[in-house]
Amino acid sequence: MLNGFLRNSKVRIGLGVFAAFLLLALLGPWFVSSVMDTTPRAIDYDALGQPPSANHLLGTTLPGSDVLAQVIVGARGSVFVGITSAVLATVIAALVGVPSGFLGGRLDHGLTAFTNLFLTLPSFALTLIIAGYVQGAAWWVIALIIAAFEWPGGARTLRSQTMSLRGRDFTVAMRMLGESKTRLVFAEVMPHMTGIVSAMFLRACVAGVFAEAALSFLGIGTTGSVSWGTIISEAQGQSAILNGLWWWFVPPGLCIALLGTATALVNFGIDEISNPRLSAANRKLMKRFRRAAEPEVAR
């Protein structure tokens, strides 16, 4: 199954891009300080608000910082918030969804009601409001807030998956051998959810990046550290739009979009694996199909 997963070209491209960003987040600051020999806040007084040039590949901001350096370092700010919120959201989702689905009964009722409550809350509005309360919080607080509204969807899928896996013949069979509940959960049920959980994780991760960017853009996200959202926000605050300093606010937005696309690709790939009809709609295959089908009509 994992093999099929990695053989899917969409998954491969998506994961590749995602990994690239992850690498950027991990090594970015090092790269900027050692290779580019600068910092995202270093000021080049000779190039204030300059368009891309040989010295500054992506140009500079109005206060003379290198946009490329900012985007690279900002990857960490964005991706870390994304990943932290995704980890938290996934863990909460698992802690709520799996027991709820596996044990059933009153516990399930309670947890489901809890999940549904969160599910109907308009999450971004609430995130905004709460972030507003704790304005200017550290990045992990933002991640926590985002996670708090990201988990219910995941919990619901995990619950229904667990429920279906709990009733699947192989789990029932192991139960009828006398296998313990913990082992059933960890050895029989959970391994089947790696796909779902990883898709969920990726989705939550991007949702986290999105939310962080949106909050930063509104000026109520993290402050101090550089993230793609703060770059856009600063650009907006310093009239980059009015003055057409597109190189300042376009790259971080593209990065977010790219990351989002990568995740979407992985998820489509997973969809295709779980629903072969979708993968049959593969373009290459359809080309061959049409070529093969043509002579038949021509005759």
């Binding site: 007084y45 200017g136 402050t223 101090g224 605050g237 310093q238 009239s239 009015l242």
Partner: protein
């Protein structure tokens, strides 16, 4: 397009009616806000109120910001201190009428000043008087417990409202929907996106030279405001405009103007002297010495210039400024700064932190995240300290909502702030230096955020407060200036300024900084009226 005359009625079409005679001024009169609310109740405990109150209501006196903050008559013909400095007598103009025709009298003044005293839920004034008497309809006598020369300037901020209307209302909840004032403006139209005033024919100050209608426009954020200035939707606005020379003036130098008028004080750094390592004067001097304000300005060109080390602006205060500081804008002196740092009891460690006794004291610096110029300068400052002294200062842009609270409590090391500003020079220093305005770390200081505590300073301020003698005032001011320069409780960087942009395509007659008699700023009461009154349509 041909039907544009059908588009609206009344004065609305000002900016679009290309051919019609110019009689409407389009301006802003508020901080950035996307829409207006209707609330001209100046006592109402609301945060957001309707703009342009100062076109409707007027104060007794006008502060001449271009001449050392000298008080000038406005609704009051004259004002006079008793010899002991405890009684202030205003003689009111007799030709002033409210826009509903009722004459303006001392009753109105008394009401205005006393109303908030009766109800703590209303917005309070800062006049601090003991009692008010109105011997006749045009005389107001204000008594103080103590010598109160410095209070006079505050009357420039207190705009008088009509007693015969306001006393009928519950001032806590009333929104004053149909404002009646002494000012030249009469409300003709209100919509959340535009307020229109007409110039009163019976205004005591006289007719205007051309402006018949005034449109007050909101702008959601500075970008939008700038765009409106650029495309002629606005004639007059007051925003700090980064790089305005290039972005605005250069687009049409004949009509686009961007002016900065000094307010008298400065924008600079608050050093929290109660927190190590800033308790060491050498550290403060070193940090100040390493700053190059000239260079910082490049990061966010606002039209301001570097100021001297006292914080007082030379143009505004002239003689009050001791000659040794006058005309000496602060410049970077790395050698001296390094020497100071070497003298400090704190030593620089490998991480760029100052440390003493094995304990390291990493520094942070907090600019307001919303003020883009301060954010940019904050980063520039950190860069200069890093490259110049090797000191690492972490920049933590903080929302304005929080920063002032943190500063009041002393939860900061270095922060950008205004200093030495106020309606009098004394007030400028008293606010930031008087220990009475400070508080221990953790408690809320009212304005002395640097927590500068010094007996001599307090004594000097006290003496200055109670004297009306100019020579003495100068003497105290000079002594205080020396204290500031030597001890650097705060580090003045730039002249604080009023930012004004004008698009003179339609209106001319704007005061020029070179020859101005008043500051053409839309938030400065009588100055606003004077400015508008003297505008003439461009040919």
């Amino acid at each position: 397009v041909g039907c544009s005359t059908d588009k609206g009625t009344g004065a609305g079409g000002g900016s679009t009616g290309g051919k019609s005679a110019v009689d409407t001024l389009n301006m802003t009169a508020s901080a950035a806000a996307p829409t207006f609310v209707k609330n001209w109740n100046r006592f109402s405990p609301a945060d957001k109120k309707s703009p342009a109150t100062n076109l409707l209501y007027e104060p007794l006196i006008r502060i001449d910001h271009l001449a050392g903050k000298k008080p000038e008559p406005w609704l009051a013909e004259s004002f006079e201190w008793s010899p002991d400095g405890k009684t202030l007598t205003f003689k009111l103009r007799t030709d002033v009428k409210w826009s509903d025709g009722t004459p303006f009298t001392a009753k109105d003044v008394k009401f205005t000043f006393e109303a908030p005293k009766a109800n703590p839920k209303l917005t309070q004034n800062s006049l601090g008087f003991k009692s008010i008497a109105t011997p006749d309809d045009h005389t107001v006598v204000v008594s103080y417990d103590d010598v109160a020369y410095q209070k006079l300037a505050s009357y420039g901020d207190e705009r008088i409202v009509p007693q015969h209307i306001w006393s009928q209302q519950n001032l806590e909840t009333w929104t004053n929907p149909d404002p009646i004032g002494t000012g030249p403006a009469k409300l003709t139209k209100f919509s959340p996106q535009q307020i229109t005033f007409d110039w009163r024919d019976d205004y005591w100050g006289g007719k205007s030279k051309g402006v018949k209608h005034i449109n007050i426009k909101p702008f959601a954020d500075p970008q939008v405001g700038k765009a409106m200035m650029l495309n002629g939707q606005l004639d007059w606005s007051t925003m700090s405009w980064q790089d305005a020379d290039k972005q605005f003036v250069a687009k049409n130098p004949a009509t686009n103007h961007y002016w900065t008028y000094p307010t008298g004080g400065d924008e600079g750094l608050n050093f929290n002297v109660a927190k190590p390592p800033l308790d060491d004067v050498h550290v403060r001097r070193a940090l100040y010495g390493a700053v190059d304000p000239e260079k910082l300005l490049k990061l966010n060109v606002t039209g301001q210039s570097p100021t001297n080390a006292t914080g007082y602006d030379a143009k505004v205060y002239g003689d009050l400024l001791a000659p040794e500081y006058k005309d000496k804008p602060h410049t970077q002196d790395l050698a001296a700064a390094k020497a100071e740092l070497a003298q400090a009891s704190y030593k620089l460690d490998a991480n760029g932190n100052l440390s003493k006794g094995g304990k390291s004291y990493p520094l942070t610096m907090k600019p307001v995240v919303e003020y883009s110029n301060w954010s940019a300068w904050g980063l520039g400052l950190a860069e200069q300290w890093r490259t110049g002294l090797g000191v690492n200062v972490k920049v933590v842009p903080t929302p304005e909502d929080q920063l002032w609270g943190q500063m009041a409590k002393g939860d900061y090391h270095i922060a950008l702030d205004w200093q030495a500003g106020g309606n009098t020079p004394w007030a400028g220093y008293d606010g930031v230096l008087n220990s009475a305005n400070g508080a221990p770390l953790g408690q809320e200081a009212s304005t002395n955020y640097t927590r500068w505590q010094d007996k001599t300073t307090d004594d000097l301020l006290a003496k200055w407060r109670v004297t009306n003698d100019e020579a003495k005032q100068k003497e105290y001011a000079a002594a205080l200036q020396k204290i500031v320069v030597d001890n650097v409780p705060f580090a003045p960087l730039f002249t604080a300024a009023w930012f004004i942009e004008v698009n003179s395509t339609r209106w001319t007659g704007w005061p020029d900084p070179a020859s101005a008699e008043y500051v053409p700023h839309s938030l400065l009461g009588p100055e606003t009226i004077l400015t508008i009154q003297n505008l003439t349509p461009a040919k």
